[in-house]
């Protein structure tokens, strides 16, 4: 609907009569989908391509998790400023690559209201960030941090918009093109947010009154990276959050399955905590829901969800086994896909509820739920709003159909993997493999190649 209108506006700006005639006509034909997203129907302004060309020509400088936390371990003013300038040149470059990716998609796709919202958000961020001059002082850095965190907040709605857009466009282009596109977008998004959030966290540490530039103890965060992330604690915490949300949704206590954790409970590794919480939370939520659904109508105690943590020299595996009846075989081929599958209509409806929630009710619910969940252990409560928190804490029955593919993107981003095996009629086993980063050079290479997208 918006497509011909935009074409018209751009090409025949002078002929007002024709334009109004067309507008009236198109107004009559306004479909439900156009109404829904009327805010994005505004056509994007023409912009010179040459500036973007310059930025696209610059190479991306990948960074490893190891570099991330060694950088921050002994934090000095000089290092903080150099971190700021790394982020300053890196963010617009990476945004430029993504913008060019989008520009290469068919016109009909980018004019989709949701995708064009994303495009506009990216372009605005690019235009703002590319104009930031060289940072020389801590004060300039503080200014810069404000700009970044504003952009980060603005981009919270990107994931739902992106997924809705891709779902709506599934008939317009070949599925694998869209699948590649969204995977690249999400991976790149993770990498941008990681370097941005890491810098924000470093700045915060530097500014805090009790900061001393010396080596930190192992149990702490360096920026966003938790050096000794304990698998058991994360599973326990995410499990309790998921159970709590399910309890709220169903108002019954007996139907919630127990979560049993066994294996190598002491296993630790450096990781970005919010990422692991999201993945594990998504998996446990799937399991809890499946068990509750299967057990619905029976009075018996639901079978527990068994989590096994296995530590090997190079990686940690978390196996989550439920007895929720497994996955029907007609859905299995589409489990890892963002834009294919039989349940797309329901997914679209549910997805549309997420952007609104990301801004309002949900954030409140998040913090209260989180406090409840984490009050039992002494895990650090210091955290920032991430785009993941609105997803992690949505009501359990809001099914988006992107938990598994998103989780896999996150797991693979840190050189891990995610596998699922369904015992149809019985339950599901999921295997999350986490690489112990920072002790192997080749893993840095893997990371770098993923980062370079």
């Amino acid at each position: 609907m918006t497509l011909p209108l935009k074409l018209f506006q751009n090409q025949c700006e002078g002929s007002i009569i024709q334009y109004w005639f067309y507008k009236e006509q198109s107004g009559e034909r306004t479909s439900a989908s156009a109404k829904r997203c009327c805010k994005a129907a505004r056509p994007s302004p023409w912009r010179p391509a040459s500036i973007l060309d310059d930025w696209v020509d610059r190479p991306i400088r990948p960074i490893s998790l190891r570099q991330l936390f060694f950088f921050g371990r002994t934090l000095t003013e000089e290092r903080l400023i150099s971190s700021a300038n790394y982020v300053r040149s890196e963010l617009p470059t990476r945004l430029a690559h993504r913008l060019r990716d989008m520009q290469k998609l068919p016109y009909v796709v980018v004019t989709n209201p949701h995708l064009s919202t994303v495009y506009e958000l990216y372009y605005k961020a690019f235009e703002t960030l590319r104009r930031v001059p060289l940072i020389k002082t801590v004060e300039e850095n503080d200014e810069y941090c404000k700009a970044i965190s504003g952009t980060l907040k603005e981009h919270l709605a990107v994931i739902p918009n992106l997924v809705i857009g891709v779902l709506e466009c599934q008939d317009l282009v070949q599925p694998h093109i869209m699948e590649d596109f969204i995977n690249t977008m999400l991976r790149a998004r993770i990498s941008r947010r990681v370097i941005a959030e890491q810098h924000l966290a470093l700045t915060e540490t530097f500014d805090s009154p009790w900061h001393f530039p010396e080596k930190k103890s192992e149990s702490e965060f360096v920026g966003e990276v938790l050096l000794r992330c304990n698998a058991r604690d994360i599973v326990k915490q995410s499990g309790e959050l998921a159970q709590q949300l399910s309890r709220k949704a169903t108002n019954s206590d007996s139907a919630i399955p127990e979560i049993k954790i066994s294996g190598h409970l002491e296993a630790t590794f450096p990781y970005i905590q919010s990422h692991l919480e999201y993945i594990v939370g998504e998996l446990l939520r799937n399991s809890i829901l499946a068990v509750m659904e299967k057990n619905h109508g029976t009075c018996s105690k639901p079978p527990p969800i068994e989590v096994l943590i296995c530590e090997a020299p190079q990686h940690v595996v978390i196996r989550i086994s439920d007895q929720g009846g497994g996955i029907p075989r007609d859905i299995v081929p589409y489990l890892w896909s963002f834009n294919k599958g039989p349940k797309n209509a329901a997914r679209l409806r549910n997805l549309e509820k997420v952007p609104a929630m990301a801004a309002t009710v949900d954030e409140l619910q998040t913090s209260s739920a989180r406090q409840g969940a984490s009050s039992n252990h002494a895990l650090p409560e210091k955290r920032r709003d991430s785009s993941l928190s609105s997803l992690s804490s949505r009501p359990p029955n809001l099914r988006l159909g992107m938990g598994l593919p998103m989780s896999r993107v996150y797991a693979e981003y840190w050189a891990g993997s995610l596998q699922l095996h369904s015992l149809e009629g019985y339950g599901v086993d999921v295997f999350l493999q986490i690489s112990k980063l920072g002790n192997q050079n080749e893993q840095i290479n893997t990371r770098a190649s993923i980062d370079a997208v």
Partner: protein, 454 residues
């Protein structure tokens, strides 16, 4: 493999003994040409004939096809139609195998073991020649045909160990990936060929007067058990494997069987038996050798509710290419999907079973994990094949194989997993392995049954 055929659940046919060994006739050639030096030219089938047969489409075989002639005892007409169905399928498959063998390097096929297999195929296809230009119309012809089938099954009994030995001897001249590719295809083709032949033999035997009268209604249709209980097979295999385990190590791990232990479905019991035995051997050996014999091996059986997805739809979505190991050709698949859709009760929902085998035997080391599906003929030595009993690592395999005559020579070759997977995948199932290194291994075996059979 031989032991699979001689287990006591179905009558054993007397095999024709006067098998012709073509290559023995070459032996007298002066000056002292080794008998295996070249595939013999005395085959009574022309190259044109083989090429013509190999060019025919090779149709897929499904469980539904194998049971479509109905429950035995079969009427004479049904028996004849089974014979003609068998006759239509086999020659193109055998001819295609001959072509694939011919495409191997000369030096490889000159190896006595490989050339023995090549000759076996030439022999088998020549025994079918008198039949393939006409239909089988009388019961007498059918009887003769069944004998030919029995000869075919018997001739190819030891194909895998012989091929393995041959490729081992030729490992200088052919790359592991070429061998794996050839073996993958050959094994799958062999599963199909044997199953088709055995099915007709079994139907024939079960339809003879005297074989069915006293027993009442049997759940078997030929080699397919229509009320196969996986739990029962698992218990039998457990008894067998834990026995040899105790013999070798002095201990046996315990087994916990849970999930839907009462599940039933239609499948080929010998296939399931082979796969489960192999998987249990791996699990038990790992459990005992890691010193965790007190930790039980847990087997969970899951039975899927009847799914709407039919076998035919699954086949339609397949694409046959050079890289995929199917025993049918793309033309055969197309022909199959287009013509027989209504004739076969494919549209009824099929039961599917998933079996999870969980051990706490320490898992699979990350450097070994990528190779578990390869026919890893490069990792064992000549010494090991000829004297498998002395090899401690695979002692369990060696002992377990010794019951089945010649099949012991395949033991310890590391063929268990890839061969098991070939069997599972043949009717649309599969095997997946997840290793938790330092803890244990989870194996997922899924099998697709066939819809309700009246």
């Amino acid at each position: 493999m031989a032991d699979l055929l001689s287990r006591g659940w179905r009558p054993v046919l007397r095999f024709r003994s006067e098998r012709v060994r073509w290559y023995t006739s070459v032996a007298s050639f002066p000056p002292a040409v080794p008998t295996w030096s070249h595939p013999p030219s005395s085959a009574q089938i022309s190259d044109e004939e083989i090429n013509r047969l190999a060019a025919r489409p090779r149709r897929p075989v499904t469980l539904a096809d194998l049971v479509k002639h109905g429950r035995p005892p079969l009427s004479p007409n049904a028996l004849l139609s089974s014979a003609n169905y068998t006759l239509a399928l086999l020659p193109p498959r055998l001819a295609h195998r001959i072509q694939c063998l011919r495409n191997l390097p000369f030096i490889v096929v000159s190896n006595p073991h490989i050339s023995q297999i090549y000759n076996n195929y030439l022999h088998s296809i020549s025994t079918l020649l008198p039949y393939h230009k006409r239909h089988i119309t009388t019961l007498q012809e059918e009887e003769q045909f069944t004998e030919t089938m029995a000869d075919l099954v018997h001739t190819h009994n030891n194909t895998i160990p012989i091929l393995a030995r041959g490729f081992l001897e030729c490992r200088k001249y052919i790359t592991p990936s070429e061998v794996t590719k050839f073996l993958e295809q050959h094994l799958r083709a062999r599963i199909g060929t044997r199953l088709i032949a055995e099915q007709h033999i079994a139907l024939h035997m079960a339809s003879q007067p005297g074989s069915y009268e006293e027993k009442g209604v049997s759940p078997y249709i030929g080699v397919i058990d229509t009320a196969l209980r996986p739990a029962e097979i698992i218990r039998n295999c457990d008894a067998f494997v834990s026995e040899i385990c105790e013999l070798k190590y002095g201990v046996r791990p315990s087994l916990i069987l849970n999930g839907e232990v009462d599940a039933e479905f239609a499948h080929v019991p010998v296939h399931l038996e082979y796969i489960v035995t192999e998987l249990l051997k791996n699990a038990y050996r790992a459990t005992v050798e890691s010193g965790n014999e007190r930790k039980p091996v847990e087997i969970t059986i899951a039975a899927a509710p009847n799914a709407p997805h039919t076998k035919l739809e699954a086949l339609k979505s397949l694409l046959v290419s050079q890289d995929t190991s199917h025993d049918f050709s793309q033309e055969g698949l197309t022909e199959y999907c287009n013509t027989e859709g209504d004739a076969i009760p494919l549209n009824s929902a099929a039961q599917s079973i998933t079996i999870r085998i969980r051990d706490q035997g320490g898992g699979i080391a990350p450097d070994i994990l990528p190779n578990i599906w390869a026919f890893n003929f490069t990792t064992f030595s000549n010494n090991r094949t000829s004297n498998a009993d002395n090899d401690n690592i695979d002692a369990l395999n060696a002992i377990s194989g010794s019951g089945g005559g010649n099949s012991s020579s395949i033991a310890g070759l590391g063929y268990g997993l890839p061969l098991g997977r070939a069997y599972a995948e043949y009717f649309g199932g599969g095997i997946a392995v997840e290793s938790l290194y330092g803890f244990g291994t989870d194996v997922y075996l899924s099998l697709q049954g066939v819809g309700k059979i009246s």
